[in-house]
Amino acid sequence: MAVFDYRQAEEVRDAFARHGVRYLFIGKSGAILLGFPDTTQDADLFLAKAPENCRNAVGALIDLGFALTTEESEQIARGKDFIQLKNGPFDLDLIFAPDGIERFDDAWSRRVEVEGFPVCHIDDIIASKVAAKRQKDRDSLPRLLAFREYWKSKRP
């Protein structure tokens, strides 16, 4: 399996656009798109949980090369809160209800576009990590908070 890279991010962007999927990059992968220098293994996508959006996501993922069984496709179409995919060209986490964010539309209204990639605002990325209360997030949070300060200082 290949490491997620810019070309694959473009493929995600384009496939999701073709299928009309509403999504946002979130988590550390979202922060990296915003400019946060750190490492991660997979891309995290926050998807709107509307039934049509979930069905569209299945089509987009198949286009991208994910080998989904009928049962797996049905679970994505149902919009289960968290889905981990390691059955495609790269690792992908689908999150339909991230901790710390009330509604997709709220996050969408605050999104940041980076070279055509829709990304959660840094405040939402941090809110989800704070709410998750994981050890690994607590360890990385001080640097992410510092990056938010830096990132906001550079915004017009």
Partner: protein, 72 residues
């Protein structure tokens, strides 16, 4: 969990942020996305959880503590 920075950005971090800002996105991504094996987590091709709470509980009960997925 602390949510607000209380001090100025440490110079080492600031230098890293500035350096990253000078790189094109494609290069930033090349440096950022890495492949490492995470025991248990990487041993299934597909997992789905009805709720985030179920996912967090699964992580706490199944993943090695040192991976850092446990809740604090």
């Amino acid at each position: 969990m602390e949510t607000e920075p209380k001090a100025a950005i440490p110079k080492e971090w600031l230098d890293e942020f500035e350096a990253a800002a000078r790189r094109p996105l494609e290069l930033r991504m090349r440096y950022a996305f890495i492949r490492t094996y995470k025991p248990v987590m990487d041993d299934a091709r597909f997992r789905a959880f009805d709720t985030m709470e179920q996912y967090r509980r699964w992580c706490a009960e199944n993943l090695p503590e040192w991976l850092g997925y446990g809740r604090i």
